[in-house]
Every structure is written in structure tokens, then in C-alpha cells.
Symmetry: C2
Subunit: 202 residues, 2 copies
């Protein structure tokens, strides 16, 4: 499976890169992105520090790669979320695709909260993502926009609807993932579902 690359060298290289990234994700899930340590990853893999620099130019490039993978993962997950049996003319349930996207988003975020925050969390003031990453970001937005365009248009314009969808769901989701709802006698899933429902009937 997945013999990326032709030569044995390339295969080995991509395999090691993949393992490095996997350990990096484990560290990030455990203690956040700021606690990611190249040295610790190297030790876990049984090799000594600077060896990792054969695979990533540095900590920043590794993190950027993880951010790219996170965007890619969300974009693919969004794309794979088909409108459930809607006959392309938008009959069936009108907002089924949007609702499916909403629940896909929440599942994806809950699956790895720190991955979500790598995309939508606290920005680093100096940092600017490379162009290909912003391209993936607009892919995500495009998927959302398409789903909004299939709705009956007696409500707001597709773009306004998409922005409301994005901002409101991110609002609930990020506060939930950050733990701001704990001890508040509140079911985050229900709050989320309530916002989705409100979004589908304006």
C-alpha cells in the first residue's frame, strides 16, 4: 500500500517523514503545538537530534507541513461529504448538504482538537502561511459556498449565508474545544445542533 516514490531511497524518506509527522501530531495533541520538540521526536525514533534536519529544514517547516496537512484533511473531508441523496436540482431536503457539512466539521474537530486549533486557533503575529495553504483554505470556503448556493434563495445571499455558517459554527465549536463550556450545565452538541437548525431557516 502507498509505495510513494519509485526508488527505495524515496520510499524510505517519505516513510520517515510520515513517522516524524505522526509523532509530532501525538506531541501536539498531548501538550499543544508550542510544546513540539524535534529532539523529543528524534529520541522517540531512536535517532539523535540533528538527524531530523535531513527531513525537515526546521521546526517551523515541520509545523507548516502539519498545518498544510490539517487544511488538506479538512478540505478533503468537506469534499467527501456528499449531499445525502439530493437529486442535484436541490429538491429532497433543502439544507441536507449544509447540515451534513456542519456535522462533518464538528466530528472532524472533535477527532483532534489541536488540529482544529492549528487552523483556526491563536495566530502567531509574524507568521504568514504559504500560498498553497491559503489555496486549500479557499477550497474549503468554496465547498461551503456551493452548499449554500443550493438553498432556496428567499433568505440571504449565498455568501452571507456561508459567512454566518462559518462564523457561528466556529464560535460554538472553538469555545467547546477550548473547554469554556465545562461546568455550565449545557450540552455542546445540542447548542451546536441548535445553531445549525437556526442557520437552515432564515
Amino acid at each position: 500500500m502507498a509505495d510513494t516514490g519509485t526508488t527505495p531511497r524515496e520510499r524510505y524518506r517519505t516513510q520517515v517523514r510520515a513517522e516524524i509527522k505522526q509523532r509530532a501530531w501525538e506531541q501536539i495533541a498531548a501538550a499543544g503545538a508550542s510544546a513540539l520538540s524535534l529532539n523529543a521526536i528524534a529520541k522517540q525514533m531512536g535517532m539523535s537530534g540533528p538527524a531530523l534536519y535531513r527531513y525537515f529544514a526546521g521546526r517551523d517547516e515541520l509545523i507548516t507541513e502539519l498545518i498544510r496537512d490539517a487544511y488538506r484533511s479538512l478540505a478533503d473531508t468537506f469534499r467527501a461529504t456528499a449531499a445525502p441523496q439530493s437529486p442535484a436540482d436541490g429538491s429532497g431536503a433543502p439544507g441536507a448538504h449544509l447540515a451534513a457539512l456542519a456535522h462533518t466539521l464538528r466530528d472532524w474537530a472533535l477527532d483532534d482538537p489541536q488540529r482544529y486549533f492549528l487552523i483556526y486557533g491563536t495566530p502567531v503575529p509574524g507568521y504568514h502561511a504559504p500560498d498553497d495553504i491559503t489555496t486549500i483554505a479557499s477550497e474549503i470556503m468554496a465547498t461551503l459556498l456551493e452548499a449554500c448556493a443550493t438553498l432556496p434563495s428567499d433568505g440571504p445571499a449565498p455568501f452571507r449565508r456561508a459567512m454566518a455558517f462559518w462564523t457561528r459554527l466556529h464560535g460554538v465549536l472553538s469555545l467547546e474545544l477550548a473547554g469554556h463550556f465545562t461546568g455550565m450545565d449545557l450540552d455542546p452538541a445540542q447548542l451546536y445542533a441548535g445553531e445549525v437548525e437556526a442557520l437552515l431557516r432564515p
Copy 2:
């Protein structure tokens, strides 16, 4: 002004602590909380590294103190946001207090985005805020709840309304502050105002 403490020693101590925190805020605003360096602060203040440990037990305690100050600042700013000339019986403009809180929140966040993210940004998996900080957090929530309770009650219950207020405004605000709207031909202030308006008429 503000001669906190009686003895000269205490005055000097609180003054140095204040300067340390101020430099810390500058660093955080410039490069994010993860780039905060005690050594750099010490050098800026003309003293050598470990001297700061007389004033803060370590980096974590300093950051916790900054988080506390951020919460305190937001709570005070919220409390100071009076309902504009509403005669206590809730006549006048019904949602004036809520609208004022909304704009106060945005102004406060724009004034120092990293301070906002210190409260509502990416959480550190291991970290749990001390009890007094969660107390301040509930102060903020209480202010919001009170403002929601003065609304005509043909809409949702005050608690639901407060949650919608919180999550929706945080959704728009955090995405704006993180720069996710750049290059999107969209006025964040307008989007924000639109959400506020929608919040006031359900």
C-alpha cells in the same frame, strides 16, 4: 498615583512587577505568547536573567498572571459598560445594553488581539486555570446574562440568548482577529454589526 503598598520596598516591588508585565505584553503582542522570554525581558530592563525570579516564580506564573489580568480587564470593561440611559425598567431601547456590550467587546479585542486570544484562543492541553480566574470568567458571563434578562421575553430564555450572543460574536471576532477574512472583500465591522442586530431581534 497608585502608591500600592505602604513600605518603599513593597512599592518598588509592585512597580517592578508591573514593568515586567508590561514588557511581557509587548512581547506577546509582537510575537505571540509562545515567544515570551523571561531572559529578553530581563535584558530589556537592564538586569540579568534570574533576577526576575524574585518577582515571578517562573514563566508559567507570569503567563497565568497575564491571563488573570486579561480576564480582569474584560470583566471590568464589561461592568463599566452601562446600559445607555435605560430607566432600569427596561424601557428605552430594549437591547441597548446588549448592543453596547457587543461593541465594547469588539473594541476591547481589537485593542490587543493577543490579549483576547490569551483568554479565548488555543488552549494548552495540560493547563487548568486557577479558581479565581474561572470566577472572573463567570463574572463576565453574569454581566452578559443580566443584560439578556432585561430583554422582552418573547424570544428565547436569557441563558440561551446569552450563549448565542457569546458564541456568535466570538465566532466573528476570533476569525477576524486571526486574519481569516483578509482578501475576502468583506467588512468585519459590518459582519459583526449584522450579527449583533440579528441577535437583538429573535
